[in-house]
């Protein structure tokens, strides 16, 4: 990841980060493709656990919902995440949260896929009610912000 790309990603993150509170997202992440286009690397996260995985975690494109968004270049929203079989609970367990909803949107610049922006709604304490899921209109708002962010890239 070049220094230039990182600087631009911070600028893009500020654009995307502004939309999270308006759609009720607890936190979000900007993932960029590595140069080999084999892994997604988190370069920015808006939540309290950012230091635990930004720069430390790498998501191979061989698994995961964020990889699906990368491969299809289509936005995706999943609600009731933790209730369904097949959800990998590893990261939630590590951070002590339950992911209830997530959205992920491909980030393109000049038509080329550069990464993915994801955001989540969390259940922070056992016994808390589940937050309402993301809606189609939330997905549209995130897509518009990410499209704008794509214009910050070279």
């Amino acid at each position: 990841m070049t220094q230039h790309a990182l600087q631009l990603s911070r600028l893009a993150a500020s654009r995307v980060g502004a939309v999270f509170p308006t759609i009720g997202a607890d936190e979000g992440t900007l993932w960029l493709l590595d140069e080999e286009k084999e892994e997604l690397v988190p370069v920015w996260n808006s939540g309290p656990h950012a230091e635990e995985f930004v720069g430390k975690h790498r998501q191979p494109l061989s698994a995961g919902l964020i990889s699906v968004v990368c491969l299809t270049e289509q936005a995706l929203c999943e609600n009731e995440v933790y209730r369904h079989a097949g959800q990998d609970p590893t990261l939630d367990r590590r951070l002590g949260v339950l992911t209830c909803s997530m959205m992920a949107v491909p980030l393109r610049a000049g038509g080329e896929l550069r990464g993915v922006v994801s955001c989540v709604k969390l259940k922070k304490r056992t016994g808390d009610p589940d937050p309402s899921g993301f809606s189609q209109s939330d997905l549209g708002a995130l897509q518009a912000a990410v499209a704008q962010a794509g214009e910050d890239f070279p």
Binding site: S67, C70, Q74, L76, E78, G86, G111, E112, G133
Partner: protein, 249 residues
């Protein structure tokens, strides 16, 4: 086919058709045919595009690398339960090989006589446009119908942005109806599918929203129409679909 069916007839076919006799190729991440939702079903074909650089279509093992193709197939069978689905795995970890894999699989599907090609993915790279054009033209000449997802807000993406393709977004117009006409750009159909409970890899389910599943829904509706009105060519069906979508709204 002699003459055109009326838009009303197409709306009837969308409501009552089953997809019987219609073959739908799902170009995706594979289909987990052992999923409980697919009990008693078989894939018509199961092809995987090898990622070893030779790009040869090999026989699949009824599995899905991610779950996305399983969800797409689940949506198509939900709408058109008697459609025959074939799996063509083109989505894998090697992102750089995707466009070539799609071209190979699409040609294979056309050669095998599929009526509908569902593409719940997109590519925004202008450099890949000629590759998409080549196989889309072949599909068009063979009489196949291509349905493609697109949620691009401001940039073109393929295959959805070709005029002979039925481009589908999930962002509805607010008008009630299973399918709505979007009067802007080349993606002319919206099929809201908010919070669809769909099968996923590993025998599970997920509650999903997105254009991938909107396209699958429209592929199912196209299969319904073709089961009642076989022989419609790509442009006829698209024109009728636009009018039916407006009528539905």
């Amino acid at each position: 086919m002699s003459g055109w069916p009326s838009p009303e007839r197409v709306v009837e076919a969308m409501a009552a058709g089953t997809g019987a006799g219609v073959r739908v190729a799902v170009l995706d991440s594979g289909i987990e045919i052992s999923h409980p939702d697919f009990s008693g079903r078989k894939l018509r074909d199961d092809c995987v595009v090898a990622e070893d650089g030779t790009l040869s279509a090999i026989t699949g093992d009824g599995s899905d690398a991610y779950g996305h193709g399983t969800a797409v197939a689940g949506m198509i069978w939900k709408i058109a339960p008697e459609a025959e689905i074939g799996s063509f795995r083109v989505l894998g970890a090697k992102l750089g090989a995707r466009t070539a894999a799609v071209a190979l699989a699409a040609q294979k599907a056309v050669d095998l006589g599929y009526h509908v090609l569902n593409c719940s993915f997109a590519c925004g790279l202008a450099a890949h446009l000629p590759i998409y054009k080549e196989w889309l033209d072949r599909a068009y000449l063979a009489g196949a119908h291509v349905v493609a997802a697109s949620d691009a807000v401001s940039q073109p993406e393929w295959p959805a942005h070709f005029p002979q393709v039925i481009g589908v977004s999930s962002a509805g117009t607010g008008i009630p109806g299973e399918m709505q006409r979007v009067a802007r750009g080349l993606v002319e159909i919206a099929a809201p599918t908010e919070n669809a409970l769909l099968p996923w890899k590993g025998g599970g389910h997920r509650v999903l929203t997105g254009s991938s599943f909107a396209a699958a829904k429209v592929s199912g509706l196209v299969a319904r129409i073709l089961s009642a009105e076989p022989g419609l060519d790509a442009l006829q069906l698209k024109a009728l679909l636009r009018r039916a979508a407006s009528a539905a709204g």
